[in-house]
């Protein structure tokens, strides 16, 4: 048994690793610029356009990127084409890097593309030195706009168009002479890319090794040290937000699972022993109906009918977990909380309850068909004892294995229910994070629930052996 548990725990390691790679890959594919999100999406004073503003903005951007570890390569290895340089990760801004990759995949000549990229920069910097007045303002704005567009454009027609506009706007104005010189350089460098294109290079695969100093390695090792980063939205550590949310979800789901087991077991047993009686038929049908009822529908219906005065049945509070002040006694706190929890707990309970009862009934029926039950009956063991002592224990085994499956289901179930009833649990946390693109939270919750699922499976395996002495994991 011990060896088995050890083996299972060892199996955790590759599983967690693979899930973490999956999660990390997802987090890298998210749209938007993580640094901008972390900085709170503020504009970097592009409009006012002072050189010092621009530089300060870039500096803030860089230091935030360094804080987030985005100045490192993403992963240990990278599969790309031979034209891609292994230092591409140093271009931190994700949209710009994506665009550079695009250009590489189109033309395959990195030195020229790099030069083109720096000439866009040069135009921008030349523009910063220009004194703004009524003659240059309009044209300057146009040049800046087009430069910003160039960073994220790869289609030949558009790129040519933007560059032409930059050249045209900076033409024939003495204050913009320097800009114009840079703009022509830009134009030439773009033409240079097209002239010396080596698209054949993009068909040669290359595998690049970056070593351990990469984003994934850093993220995972922080994760193992329980440092989950911080939320983009309010800069609080993810862990402290999770710590606030987790008790609610655990409380709700534990209550729901316990209640459903408590009702399901006796119900399943009695309906199995009285198979085909009217009571059994009614309960089978109604359990089936309950099992198929979508919980978010019932949750919405409860909210509409039982929490508003509209239909004269305003029995329950409609959302939240209630206000608790410090001068309330424990009984008051309990009633206040319980009052708010009744509807969500019902929504979370009935589905698993119906499922468990059906399983219990099925398991019991198959056990009651066994020979040893007939033997017990034949030798005159009272019916009660046959059912509860001989049959019941043996039919419990499937109920235990289900336990591990209930847990992930409960997490996803509470995702919607918490959202409907505004309960500040993990589901609500993940949902608001997802809507606000607060990805550190989303992916931490995902890793966390995967871990919980694994632990649940392990526990149910152990319980399995405890419940049935015939099962042994040692060979």
């Amino acid at each position: 048994m011990f060896v088995y548990i050890l083996k299972r725990i060892l199996f955790f390691i590759p599983t967690i690793l693979i899930i973490s790679v999956l999660t990390f890959a997802l987090s890298k594919m998210t749209p938007g610029d993580p640094v901008r999100l972390a900085l709170g999406n503020q504009d970097q004073g592009e409009g006012s356009g002072g050189a010092s503003d621009k530089l300060a903005g870039e500096k803030a951007y860089l230091s935030m990127a360094e804080d987030l570890g985005l100045n490192l390569p993403a992963f240990y290895v990278q599969i790309s084409n031979a034209a891609t340089p292994d230092t591409l990760y140093k271009y931190i801004k994700k949209p710009e890097r994506d665009n550079l990759e695009r250009l590489i995949s189109m033309y395959g000549n990195w030195p020229q593309i790099e030069q083109y990229y720096s000439s866009i920069k040069n135009v921008e910097y030349a523009m910063l030195d220009v004194k703004q007045d009524s003659t240059t303002f309009e044209k300057g704005r146009k040049i800046k706009e087009n430069c910003a567009k160039l960073y994220q454009e790869y289609k030949d027609r558009n790129v040519t168009g933007y560059i032409d506009q930059i050249v045209a706007s900076s033409d024939s104005l003495t204050p913009l002479a320097n800009v114009h010189a840079q703009a022509t350089l830009l134009q030439n460098s773009y033409l240079g890319i097209k002239a010396s294109a080596t698209p054949a290079k993009t068909y040669i695969p290359s595998l690049k090794w970056y070593g351990f100093n990469n984003q994934y390695h850093r993220w995972l090792s922080n994760f193992l040290k329980l440092d989950f980063g911080f939320s983009y939205a309010d800069k609080r550590p993810v862990w402290s937000k999770m710590k606030d949310a987790l008790p609610w979800t655990l409380l709700l789901n534990l209550i729901a699972i316990i209640i459903s087991y408590i009702i399901a077991i006796p119900l399943g047993v009695t309906s199995a022993t009285r198979k085909n009686s009217i009571g059994d038929r009614v309960s089978t049908v109604s359990l089936f109906v309950l099992y198929s009822l979508p919980s978010f529908w019932i949750g919405t219906m409860f909210i509409i009918f039982f929490t508003t005065p509209e239909y004269g049945m305003n029995f329950f509070p409609n959302f939240g977990v209630g206000d608790v002040t410090s001068d309330m006694g424990w009984w008051d706190i309990f009633t206040e909380r319980a009052y708010h929890m009744i509807l969500p707990v019902i929504c979370l309970t009935y589905g698993s309850w119906a499922f468990l009862s059906r399983m219990m009934r099925g398991g019991m029926l198959s056990v009651l068909r066994q020979d040893y039950i007939r033997t017990a009956r034949a030798k005159g063991v009272p019916d009660r004892k046959v059912v509860w002592k001989h049959a019941f224990r043996n039919s419990l085994i499937p109920m235990i294995t289900i336990f591990s499956g209930l847990f992930p289901a409960a997490i996803s179930g509470s995702f919607i229910i918490e959202n409907i009833y505004s309960i500040p649990g993990m589901g609500q946390l993940a949902f608001t994070a997802l809507m606000g693109r607060d990805y550190p939270i989303v992916f931490t919750v995902m890793m966390f629930s995967a871990f919980l699922t694994l632990v649940g499976t392990l526990i149910s395996d152990i319980l399995y052996a405890v419940a049935d002495p015939r099962i042994s994991f040692d060979k």
Partner: protein, 432 residues
């Protein structure tokens, strides 16, 4: 009943027995009939609820706008200039035959906005224009939304389960047929395969990543097409090591024979995938897709639901594998591929049906849950879940809460009942 007479009572073929058993379960049979009805509604949604008339005469010219619309959607017809971008309700007709429900789910009835109850007075020209199930906040017809939502729900079932079936059957049959000992290769074969796997992945997916991502931004079916091309490239590249190692083997190069533990590898993979909470996974994948589309949601649901099918197939095949007819086929010298595809898979398909029907139920639940939360579904798309979510915060609009929710419930129940009936029908203990 007519069908029952077709099968002679002494017909003892496997399917005949299953069919007979299934027919004993009355609720399952009724579910199957209801399902057929739902499919019919889903397929003919455009003909039941449509803003366009079936037939009309304008300025002496007659048109069949509903049929024409279907043609335009399929890309085989074009609107005549006088009818493109028209508001069908406001045209002057000489003769017109409307669809039974003259609204499309996205039509805004500006005179009946802000949740008009089916019981309340509605500002409509005649009884034909009545909103039988009321309207929502923007004045969209709820009944029309329900009918077109049926189509979405059926599509969710079909698409997500086809994806799940393809992947699940593939991995399940590999694991179940080969087990841990049956696939033998040489060390050279393993190295060659891994080496070419890199190239296959590169040329099929990495090098084509822009083609694929551009295609998905344009249309879903274009993406499918491109993905299919990628798959073909992948398979083509992977045939190279297959032939090389086969050749080396005939010359007895390549080192000692090793058994590839296919079953262990695939079972571990399934375990890992199942330990990721699927709803959260779906949510985060859907959130990444920049241009939301209901089809993407369907495919993603399928991508996370194949493990159950794979497990089923694996289990069945492990059972079937040691049966005599497989041995016979092997003795006759049939290749592995043929034994899997022609002999063992069809025998495990029946039990896969159970998994599929429960899978459809849960896929529909997941999709409506997602649209209820407003994730992954474009805002203008009307589904049962998105309609239901409108009812939150508007307690007086009971009709928006009850009808779509009830539709989800009925559909899920139908699939669960069918799955239940199949389980009973396939249970050998009940065979008489």
């Amino acid at each position: 009943m007519t069908k029952a007479t077709n099968i002679a009572p002494d017909d003892q073929s496997y399917w005949a027995i299953v069919r007979r058993q299934f027919r004993k379960n009355r609720s399952a049979v009724w579910s199957l009939r209801l399902l057929a009805l739902l499919f019919l509604i889903g397929m003919s949604a455009d003909f039941i609820a449509n803003e366009k008339p079936y037939y009309c005469v304008i300025n002496g010219k007659s048109y069949f706008p509903v049929l024409k619309g279907a043609g335009v959607d399929l890309g085989i017809a074009r609107w005549p200039t006088e009818l493109s971008n028209v508001t069908w309700r406001e045209l002057k007709y000489e003769k017109v035959i409307w669809a039974p429900i003259p609204y499309y789910p996205t039509n805004l009835d500006k005179k009946n906005t802000d949740f008009v109850s089916p019981m309340a007075h509605q500002d409509v020209p005649s009884a034909h224009w009545k909103h039988y199930l009321g309207t929502d906040n923007l004045g969209r017809d709820v009944l029309s939304g329900m009918i077109h939502g049926t189509r979405i729900a059926m599509l969710v079932g079909v698409i997500s389960m086809s994806v799940a079936l393809i992947i699940g059957l593939f991995f399940g049959s590999l694991a179940g047929y080969f087990g841990d000992t049956k696939l033998k290769t040489t060390w050279a074969g393993i190295i060659l395969n891994l080496f070419f796997l890199f190239f296959a992945f590169y040329y099929a997916f990495a090098a084509r990543s822009y083609t694929l991502s551009d295609a998905i931004a344009v249309s879903f079916f274009g993406f499918l097409m491109q993905f299919f091309i990628s798959l073909i490239i992948f398979i083509l590249v992977m045939t190279i090591p297959y032939f090389i190692s086969g050749f080396l083997r005939t010359r007895s190069y390549g080192g000692a024979e090793v058994e590839v533990p296919v079953d262990i590898l695939i079972s571990r993979m399934i375990e890992i995938i199942e330990s990721v909470p699927s709803f959260l996974l779906i949510l985060s994948i859907v959130a990444i897709v920049e241009k939301p589309s209901i089809y993407i949601v369907m495919v993603i649901i399928g991508l996370t639901r194949w493990t159950g099918i794979a497990r089923y197939v694996r289990g069945e095949l492990l059972k079937v594998r040691s049966l005599e007819y497989v041995e016979a086929a092997q003795a006759l010298g049939f290749p592995e591929r043929r034994i899997i595809l022609r002999h063992t898979l069809p025998n495990s398909l029946t039990s896969v049906l159970i998994s599929v029907s429960f899978g459809v139920a849960s896929a529909i639940l997941t999709e409506s849950g997602l649209s209820f939360l407003g994730i992954g579904v474009p805002p203008e798309q009307v589904t049962w879940g998105s309609m239901l979510s409108l009812a939150r915060g508007v307690p007086q609009a009971w009709w928006v809460a009850i009808f779509p929710g009830f539709a989800i419930f009925i559909t899920v129940t139908i699939f669960n009942l069918i799955g239940d009936g199949l389980t009973d029908a396939l249970d050998p203990r009940l065979k008489q």
